[in-house]
C-alpha cells in the first residue's frame, strides 16, 4: 500500500498587494482613515527604530533591536485586535505596542535603562519579552483564562523564527490545540536568528507547517504586505473569538537592520540578500498602493513622515526629561509587601547612596 505523502510546507504565502503595490487579492474592509492609520503606524515604527538606534550610538539609549523592514507584520498583527484582547510580544514588535496605545515615552524611558513606573496595564500588552519564545505560553495562558472566564477575549502571542526551535513554542502550540484556546500565535519569520539563517532552525519547508503536528490550523502570509497580514490576523482573531480555537500564522519578512545595536550582520550575510529584500520594503509597497488609490499624495506623505518624526522626538524629550527612578527603585516591585530582609537591604543601599552624595565617606 502506498503511503500518501502530504506536503504541508508547500503553500504559497497569502498576498493582497504585490511588491509594486498592486492589488492582487481581496481588499479587507478598511476605511481610508484606517488605511492611513496603518500607513502612519508603519512610518512611526520605522522612525522610532531609527531614532533609538541613533540615540544608542550617542550613548543615550541601551541595546535596541532594530524594527526596520518588519513594520507590516508588527502593525498588521496588532491593528485588528480589540481593546479587550491581550498581546504578548518579543522585543521586535514595539510598533505593535504603539498600535495598542502604549505611549512612546513609556517605552523610550525603558531604553534609557529604567523601568517605567506606569506601564499601561489597560493596554493589555505585556512588557517586551527578552527570553526567546517564553511569551507564547503566556499568550496561551491568557487565552485559556479568557475561555474559563467566558469572556470574548483573544490573546495574540508573537515570536521570531528562531523561537520556533524552543521547547516553549512547541508546548504553547500543543496547549493551544488541546485546550482550543482563543489564541493566535504569530511567527515573525525575518530570516535570521542573530547570525543563524532560517533553514538552520528547522528542516520543515515553512514554519506555518509546524501547526499541523499540533492540530492547530495555520496560515502563511507575506509579512511585508500590510493588507495581507491585517486580513489574515483579523480572520484568525475573530475565528478564535467565535470559539473556533487557535491559529498559527507565519509572516514572511526580513530583518533589514542588525539583530541589535550590539550586532554586525556583515559578518554573516550577503549585502545582495539585504538589497533584494529592501526592494520589497513594506512601507514603500503600501505607499504605492495608497498613491495609486489616490488616498495619499506626495505632500501628505511628507507631512506624515514629519509628524511621526516629531512624535518620536517629543517622546524622547519627555522620556529624557523624566527623573531617573530613585536609586532603590528596583526594590519597589519585588512583592506586594517587602519582607523585613528586603527592607533592611533597601535601607542599607540608601545609606551608601547618602554617603556617595556626601563625597563617599
Amino acid at each position: 500500500m502506498a503511503i500518501q505523502q502530504s506536503e504541508p510546507g508547500m503553500m504559497a504565502p497569502y498576498q493582497i498587494l504585490d511588491t509594486e503595490g498592486n492589488l492582487v487579492g481581496e481588499m479587507p474592509d478598511l476605511s481610508p482613515e484606517r488605511l492611513l492609520f496603518l500607513y502612519r503606524s508603519m512610518q512611526l515604527g520605522r522612525a522610532y527604530s531609527n531614532k533609538i538606534i541613533a540615540l544608542q550610538r550617542q550613548g543615550r539609549a541601551t541595546t535596541f533591536g532594530s524594527l526596520g523592514g518588519q513594520e507590516a507584520t508588527a502593525v498588521g498583527l496588532a491593528a485588528p485586535m480589540q481593546p479587550q484582547d491581550w498581546l504578548a510580544t518579543s522585543y521586535r514588535e514595539i510598533a505593535s505596542l504603539f498600535v495598542r496605545g502604549v505611549p512612546l515615552p513609556t517605552v523610550t524611558y525603558s531604553f534609557r535603562g529604567f523601568t517605567h513606573p506606569d506601564w499601561p496595564a489597560e493596554s493589555r500588552c505585556l512588557p517586551i519579552q527578552i527570553v526567546i519564545g517564553t511569551q507564547m505560553l503566556h499568550a496561551v495562558g491568557l487565552a485559556m483564562a479568557a475561555k474559563i472566564a467566558g469572556d470574548p477575549v483573544v490573546a495574540v502571542g508573537v515570536c521570531g523564527d528562531g523561537a520556533t526551535s524552543e521547547g516553549d513554542f512547541n508546548e504553547a502550540l500543543n496547549f493551544a490545540g488541546v485546550f482550543q484556546a482563543p489564541v493566535v500565535l504569530v511567527v515573525q519569520n525575518n530570516g535570521w536568528a542573530i547570525s543563524v539563517p532560517r533553514h538552520r532552525q528547522s528542516a520543515v519547508a515553512t514554519l506555518a507547517a509546524r501547526g499541523a503536528g499540533f492540530g492547530v490550523p495555520s496560515r502563511l502570509v507575506d509579512g511585508n504586505d500590510i493588507l495581507a497580514v491585517y486580513a489574515v490576523m483579523q480572520q484568525a482573531i475573530e475565528n478564535a473569538r467565535a470559539g473556533h480555537g487557535p491559529m498559527l500564522v507565519e509572516t514572511l519578512t526580513y530583518r533589514i537592520g542588525a539583530h541589535t545595536t550590539a550586532d554586525d550582520p556583515t559578518r554573516y550575510r550577503d549585502a545582495a540578500e539585504v538589497e533584494a529584500w529592501r526592494a520589497k520594503d513594506p512601507i514603500v509597497r503600501f505607499q504605492r498602493f495608497l498613491v495609486q488609490r489616490n488616498l495619499l499624495d506626495e505632500e501628505q506623505d511628507r507631512r506624515i513622515v514629519e509628524e511621526v518624526e516629531e512624535e518620536v522626538n517629543e517622546a524622547v524629550r519627555i522620556a529624557e526629561a523624566m527623573d531617573p527612578p530613585a536609586p532603590d527603585g528596583f526594590f519597589d516591585w519585588m512583592f506586594a509587601e517587602l519582607s523585613p530582609r528586603l527592607q533592611e537591604q533597601r535601607a542599607d543601599l540608601l545609606r551608601f547612596v547618602d554617603r556617595d552624595r556626601q563625597g563617599g565617606r
Partner: protein
C-alpha cells in the same frame, strides 16, 4: 477533625475553589485520577472540568500558561507531579512567573501557587525525592513554603493561594500519610514568612522544616534523655523568606544552633540560616552552627537513601558536639 496532610491539602483546595471563583487547579493526572497522591481527589467532580483540569505532560507549559492565567486575573494552583521535575520548567518559574511584577513595574502580577511533592525515604525512582528549595533562595520574587503538619499544610496553602505573588509550595511525600492531626474544617490562614516554635528550650536551637521536624523532635527527645539537654525546636514553615527574627531570638537565648534539612548542604537553607546568625548574633554563639543535611551528591538510589537522609542519630550527634564543654 483528624486529617492526614493529604486530606488537609484536599480540604484546603476544596474550600478555596468554593470561596473564590478565580481559583483554578491544573496539572498532570489531577482530574479524574485525583493526582498521583490523591491531593486533588474529587475536586474535578465537584467543581467541573473548567476549574480543575488535566494538562498535557508539559511542565514548562503548565507554569507558563498558569503565569498567563494569573496575569489575566485567575488564581491558578498548578501541580508539578514531583519537585524533581521543576528543573524542566525553571525558565517559566524563575525567569517569568517570579519576575512579572518586577518586569512590569507592578502593572501585572502573578498570584499563582505551584505545588510540588518532594522528599525522601519512600523508595522512589530517580528525581522523585529531591529537595530543591535551596535552588530557589536565589530566585527573587518567589516565596517557598514547606509545611510539616496537616493543620499547617491547610492554613499555609490557603495563605499561599491568597498571596498576591507566586508561591512554591513543597509538600513532603513521607508526611502525606504518616500521621493524622486535628485540623479545623473551616477556612483559616497561617501567615507566610513566620516560623513556629514547637518546643521551647534553653541549650540548643534546632531549625527544621518539612519531614525533618519529626527527625529533629526525635533527636531532641533522645538528647534530653541522654544528656539532659533542653532543646528548642523551630519549624521554619516558610523557607524563603526566612523568619530572621525568630531565628535570631532563639539563638540569642540558647547560644547554640543546628539546622536540619534533606536538601544538599552547599548554599542552601542551612547555609543561609548560618549566615543570618553570623550577621545578627554571632557573639551569642557558644559553639559553631551545625548543619545536619543531605550530602552534596545527587539524591541516592532507593537502596542507599537512608544513609543520605538526616536521622535522629545524626541530630543527636550534632547536639552532642554542640553541648561539649
Amino acid at each position: 477533625m483528624q486529617m492526614t496532610m493529604i486530606e488537609a491539602l484536599n480540604n484546603a483546595l476544596a474550600l478555596e475553589l468554593e470561596r473564590d471563583e478565580r481559583v483554578v487547579v491544573l496539572g498532570q493526572d489531577i482530574g479524574i485520577n485525583g493526582g498521583v497522591f490523591r491531593v486533588t481527589e474529587h475536586l474535578q467532580k465537584k467543581f467541573g472540568e473548567k476549574r480543575v483540569f488535566d494538562t498535557p505532560l508539559s511542565e514548562s507549559a503548565i507554569i507558563g500558561s498558569a503565569t498567563g492565567m494569573s496575569i489575566y486575573g485567575l488564581r491558578p494552583v498548578a501541580e508539578i507531579q514531583f519537585a524533581g521535575f521543576l528543573f524542566v520548567c525553571m525558565n517559566q518559574l524563575v525567569s517569568q512567573a517570579a519576575r512579572i511584577r518586577f518586569r512590569s513595574g507592578g502593572a501585572f502580577t502573578c498570584p499563582m501557587v505551584v505545588r510540588a511533592p518532594y522528599g525522601g525515604g519512600v523508595r522512589t525512582p530517580e528525581l522523585h525525592s529531591d529537595s530543591l528549595e535551596g535552588v530557589f533562595l536565589q530566585t527573587p520574587g518567589l516565596k517557598v513554603v514547606v509545611p510539616a503538619t496537616p493543620p499547617d499544610a491547610k492554613g499555609l496553602l490557603a495563605a499561599a493561594i491568597a498571596d498576591p505573588d507566586p508561591v512554591l509550595f513543597l509538600e513532603n511525600i513521607k508526611l502525606y500519610r504518616s500521621f493524622r492531626q486535628d485540623t479545623p474544617e473551616d477556612h483559616y490562614l497561617i501567615p507566610l514568612g513566620k516560623a513556629k516554635t514547637l518546643q521551647e528550650g534553653t541549650d540548643v536551637s534546632i531549625f527544621a522544616y518539612g519531614a525533618m521536624v519529626q527527625v529533629a523532635l526525635e533527636g531532641a527527645r533522645q538528647a534530653q534523655q541522654e544528656l539532659g539537654a533542653s532543646i528548642e525546636i523551630i519549624d521554619l514553615r516558610t523557607v524563603w523568606p526566612l523568619d530572621e527574627e525568630a531565628i535570631v531570638a532563639s539563638v540569642e537565648k540558647t547560644g547554640r544552633a543546628i539546622v536540619v534539612h534533606e536538601a544538599p548542604r552547599a548554599g542552601g537553607v542551612g547555609a543561609e540560616v548560618t549566615a543570618i546568625i553570623n550577621e545578627h548574633c554571632l557573639y551569642s554563639l557558644l559553639k559553631p552552627v551545625e548543619r545536619v543535611t543531605g550530602y552534596d551528591t545527587p539524591y541516592p538510589v532507593p537502596g542507599q537513601e537512608d544513609y543520605y537522609l538526616p536521622s535522629p542519630a545524626k541530630v543527636l550527634a550534632a547536639i552532642r558536639r554542640a553541648m561539649e564543654p
